[in-house]
């Protein structure tokens, strides 16, 4: 089975059901299937074949999804490009991928035209939104070809997507994701399309991110209606949930915070919502606690994963977001909600190891490793980086530190790169941040290591106060005094207006270290 079967199966079971809703327009599964065939046949006529790379540079739109399935059907490789990338980053990714064809949103054409001379492998550029002089137009391609089924012999191990992930250092890395990785995920975790069940997914996470792709593929396999937003905007999100009677949504933590903090939150009827999945960045306890409180009818799921694992590998399920039971059970659940990423999914193996690669005991912190059909086999054309993250026996080093409790729940303890080492003792920034963020005057906080002659590093709290609040460094440090072991307490505090974050909301600790880490 491969990812093209997701659309085939759903189209066979519910052809007349809305597949995509975007910009006031709707396409049924049958219509999407037809357009996918037309586009696939067009690409074949253009000389795009098995293994060729086809890039898309745009915000979420129906053509993005159609292009994915068209490319997949002819056995080519889909390269979703970060629309926020600067010209030189785009040039790097497109040449590294050796893309043959590009589909580009009109607003990005100027950038692409600028870098085109540096992209000798690109043979065709097609605008997505409207015709543009000097290049092809996506809709013309679709209309020019028959809707005869286009197929190709596709092996489980064949690559379907080449996705670029930007780490905190160096150039973006190309992660080849196989058909099998996504098939494994959906078969284990998603119910297939059913004529009796109609669900509606609101997709705001960008499709250049693995979370967006995974959500899209799961929705198609499940025969759900995909309601697309170009980009997240909170008031539009609230309105769309109500108007389209959305049942499922995926949000990163910063999006969820904006939703629940929005003054118009109570003005919209969100009762159709059944499930909110969140991930892509750590979720502050205060945010998820408030979300549960203000949307008690919603089932929340924390999904943890990486591009290298074809997205979700562990989940903290809805039952773990319901704080009830005995005193002991409630305490356990609160702890899990605070920092657990849940348990591994059925098709994933997880182990936690020390620096020497030996398994650690329960409750002991080590690096989280993952194995299984979802894991990439290595970075695209980068043996050196591959050898840094893949062990010889096929385990992926996630770069995340964590520990497992006696019930099998995994807890995060920061990134390997972000770990603070003070006098030989490891300090997890996230543990200290959780304490800081529980201070009534603190909006958000990040903890970094500052160079220290005596201890090697000392923890420094970088704090954003709530609007209108004032606090001293001493006040903040005193707050931590009774809540953290001595060696973990911040030795200094810096107050700033906002934490630097990437588009998915992850705090960029490297930037903070560059500014404040020298002591």
């Amino acid at each position: 089975m491969n990812t093209t079967d997701f659309l085939n199966i759903a189209n066979a079971i519910c052809p007349d059901r809305d597949c995509i809703v975007f910009d006031g327009k709707r396409w049924t599964y049958a219509q999407v299937n037809e357009r996918v065939n037309q586009l696939g046949n067009a690409l074949t006529q253009l000389g795009v074949g098995k293994g060729d790379r086809v890039g898309v540079l745009h915000v979420n739109c129906n053509q993005y999804i159609e292009a994915y399935f068209a490319v997949a059907r002819i056995g080519a490789i889909f390269v979703p490009l970060n629309f926020r990338a600067k010209a030189d980053e785009l040039s790097y990714m497109i040449s590294h991928a050796e893309a043959k064809t590009l589909f580009v949103g009109n607003r990005y054409l100027e950038t692409v035209n600028l870098i085109l001379p540096q992209l000798p492998t690109v043979k065709g550029v097609f605008s997505i939104d409207s015709p543009c002089e000097g290049m092809g137009y996506c809709e013309d391609l679709i209309c020019s070809c028959s809707a005869d089924e286009c197929t190709c012999e596709i092996g489980d191990e064949d690559i379907t997507i080449l996705m670029y992930t930007s780490g905190t250092t160096g150039k973006p890395k190309g992660v080849p994701l196989r058909h099998n990785a996504f098939v494994s995920y959906v078969l284990e975790n998603v119910d297939p399309a059913s004529p009796d069940v109609e669900e509606r997914n609101l997709l705001t996470v960008p499709l250049y991110h693995v979370a967006g792709i995974q959500a899209m593929l799961a929705a198609i396999y499940g025969g759900r209606t995909l309601v697309l937003m170009r980009q997240f905007e909170v008031k539009e999100w609230l309105k769309t949930i109500e108007q389209e009677k959305v049942t499922r949504a995926m949000l990163v933590p910063t999006m969820l915070k904006r939703v629940i903090d929005d003054p118009d939150f109570n003005k919209n009827n969100l009762s159709s919502l059944q499930v909110i999945t969140y991930g892509a960045a750590p979720m502050p306890f205060e945010v998820i606690s408030k979300a549960i409180r203000v949307m008690p009818w919603v089932r929340f799921i924390n999904a943890f994963g990486q591009t290298e694992t074809a997205s979700t590998i562990t989940t903290l399920g809805p039952e773990d977001h319901v704080i009830e039971g005995t005193e002991e059970e409630r305490e356990k659940k609160l702890k899990r909600l605070n920092s657990s990423i849940g348990k591994p999914l059925p098709d994933v193996e997880i182990k936690i190891v020390d620096e020497e690669g030996k398994a650690v005991s329960l409750l002991e912190v080590g690096e989280i490793l993952a194995k299984g059909p979802r894991i990439m086999t290595g970075y695209w054309r980068d043996e050196q980086k591959t050898s840094q993250v893949m062990t010889p026996d096929g385990w992926l080093r996630t770069g995340d530190m964590g520990y497992m409790d006696e019930d099998g729940y995994i807890y995060l303890a920061g990134r390997v790169d972000d770990m603070i080492i003070r006098g030989g003792e490891n300090i997890s920034p996230e543990e200290v941040e959780n304490v800081l963020q529980s201070h009534p005057k603190v909006e958000e906080a990040a903890v970094i290591g500052v160079a220290d002659v005596e201890w090697g590093q000392e923890p420094c709290a970088v704090v954003v106060l709530k609007k209108g609040e004032g606090a001293t460094a001493e006040e903040i440090m005193e707050f931590c005094h009774s809540r953290l072991a001595g060696f973990k307490r911040p030795r200094s505090v810096v107050f700033i207006d906002s934490l630097p974050r990437n588009p998915m909301g992850k705090v960029l600790r490297k930037k903070l270290r560059e500014h404040y880490g020298q002591g």
């Binding site: 199966i9 066979a12 079971i13 297939p192 004529p195 009796d196 025969g223």
Partner: protein, 39 residues
Amino acid sequence: MANQVGKRYVCKKCGAEFIVTRGGNGTIHCCGQPMEQKK
């Protein structure tokens, strides 16, 4: 037994699972016996 579109059938003997993408009047067999509809 009519096989309905979207319904899943499982073999009680070997565990194989099928999903019907086009219905018909026949019965799906596996391991020499009719498959059961998955609830």
